[in-house]
Symmetry: C2
Subunit: 346 residues, 2 copies
């Protein structure tokens, strides 16, 4: 039984710290709590203009903010959306997360981040399910961490998946497929008789890299080129040189190298140059990302550009549709999302 009410009636809206509740608003507005709730939830038309105004005023004066816990409890669902981020070398993760968080914010939801960690897919899935079970989020956005089966399980658990289900092309999602294919075809088109795929040498698992390497291999097979070599490139100049040197020794020149991302591509490019290999004469390099750095250095990097906004737009669509209510036309030209930006390395 706290005695909070003994506070003097100060002039400015003095919000009491232990939390303003809808009961406070109701009292101040001279209505019941249900009226407050109704009005705040948009049932405005059903009430007299004056009542609505009084409630609004009280809300403003007390700086009342509904408790998420109370809402969630009665609704059976929170205003949170879980963002599942794969533990991999994804380009522009920050921008993607930020864009999605902004979209969610626009419709009144908040993003809870869930990163994959050590412990393998099973452990990560179990952590995620636990999170979903306890938070009862309004939805889940998957950035590539989950398999279709996982997503199904989550939906079964009562958690709508807001990210688009990638249509799989032989076990590779369409985005990675498009990227790798663009890289490989570009290199072949530029006349390289043999290709290689350069992974980022990283402690983390890189499923995307594996997928893309597979696609590159497929394209080579189609074109009658030999099986592409695969190298792992650390992001340190000396080590990258070692990796590239090994490749050039074991395989012939010229070789066109498709890289996991632009940083790897920069590493490969400068490693090749340091080894006195001609770029793009002996060694062709194509990255992916189109981020600024590759375009700032000399030689300018050839890369597959990747438009964050476009790639996020389908997620935005789903969010708006599922959580916002507004129905915007969904025009998503997926092929336009990826295109080759020719630099000086091919």
């Amino acid at each position: 039984m706290s005695m909070e009410s003994e506070r003097l009636t100060v002039l400015p809206p003095t919000p009491r710290r232990p939390g303003v509740t809808s009961a406070d608003v109701a009292r101040l507005a001279g209505v019941s709590r249900s009226t407050v709730s109704h009005i705040l939830n948009g049932q405005v038309t059903r009430f007299s203009e004056e009542t609505v105004e009084r409630v609004r005023e009280a809300v403003a004066q007390l700086a009342y903010v509904p408790s998420a816990a109370g809402r969630s409890l009665v609704l059976g669902r929170s205003d949170l959306v879980v963002l599942a981020v794969p533990n991999t070398t994804l380009t522009n993760v920050q921008d993607i997360i930020e864009a999605i968080a902004a979209d969610l914010d626009d419709v009144g939801y908040s993003a809870v981040v869930h990163f994959d960690r050590g412990g393998g897919p099973a452990g990560n899935l179990s952590r995620l399910r636990h999170l979903v079970e306890t938070l009862r989020p309004a939805g889940l956005v998957d950035l590539g961490s989950l398999s279709p089966a996982d997503l199904d399980a989550l939906e079964e658990q009562g958690c709508p998946v807001l990210s688009p289900r990638p249509r799989n092309v032989h076990g590779v999602d369409e985005g990675n497929f498009a990227i790798a294919r663009a890289q490989a075809e570009h290199l072949i088109e530029r006349g390289f008789p043999e290709l290689a795929y350069a992974y980022l040498d990283d402690r983390r698992d890189d499923p995307f890299g594996r997928m893309r390497a597979t696609v590159v291999a497929d394209v080579c097979a189609e074109a009658g080129l030999p099986e592409p070599a695969r190298i792992s490139v650390p992001l340190r100049a000396a080590d990258a040189q070692t990796a590239v040197c090994d490749l050039l020794r074991t395989r012939g020149r010229p070789v066109g190298i498709a890289c996991s991302n632009d940083e790897v591509a920069v590493a490969v490019t400068f490693a090749a140059l340091a080894l006195r290999a001609a770029v793009p004469g002996d060694v062709g390099v194509v990255g992916v990302g189109g981020g600024s750095v590759g375009q700032l250095v000399e030689p300018r990097l050839s890369t597959v550009t990747f438009d964050v906004r476009t790639s996020v737009s389908s997620i935005r669509q789903a969010i708006r549709q599922a959580l916002g209510g507004s129905q915007e036309p969904a025009v998503n030209d997926f092929d336009d999302t990826f295109s080759v930006l020719q630099g000086a390395t091919t």
Copy 2:
């Protein structure tokens, strides 16, 4: 979300999920709900071995997970921690967020991300306060988005700040101070008679950049050097050349340029080279970040390295101490966090 719009009203048709509750566990274990709660909250010793076992078994069998909403409601605070991310060009944001999320996860909390957006500091603070008010998070981690006054206000609001309060040095936090000072002193030490500061030309506000430029100016004044010029560098080769060209025209050579980050530094370096300026003869460049890219290109970048793990460790400390309970020794050698990595651009 703009403060006035209550978009949550249009709710999707979400069927209430049944969900396993503590009542189910209690029933299966043949005890009461309060017993379940007590046991699950660590009051194990007060119960008979057998009861504890039965409850544990029932929990496992039903895959029971406590509802965050219920907990939050009665506890007055949730198991969430808000992560306030500044809308600026921060290095390694992704890694930082990931590391913090992992730390939180270890002690049973989840991270809700809050990015600064357009609308100015006031708008962002107001959004953040709204979030804190509705979520009642267990704490807040600030990555640089908030002023000390803001942090005070949030704590007043009942939300513990888990990130270390930067000790301010003339309005600049110690991290930025150390970085900028290291850059400036290094350039002066390398013999540049005049300095300049290169911002990233970005749509977003860059308070860090401004702070650092101020510090660089201070160091120049101390050393008797003229007031450093300030340039804004877009991350496109041609535009960067324009910016650097302007600088070289209006100010003399040689000039040492401290850059907002390594990307800007790369842009400046290659712009200078393209303008046929000697690096580091005419133009010295020092970045900050120490990320891989600057060390992969030729010439290798001089930069102030910035150890993510060290910089995050103090936050981890605070999290563990405030939320975890374990008391690990806190040894944080802040001076070691930043140091100059000499490349070929100075």
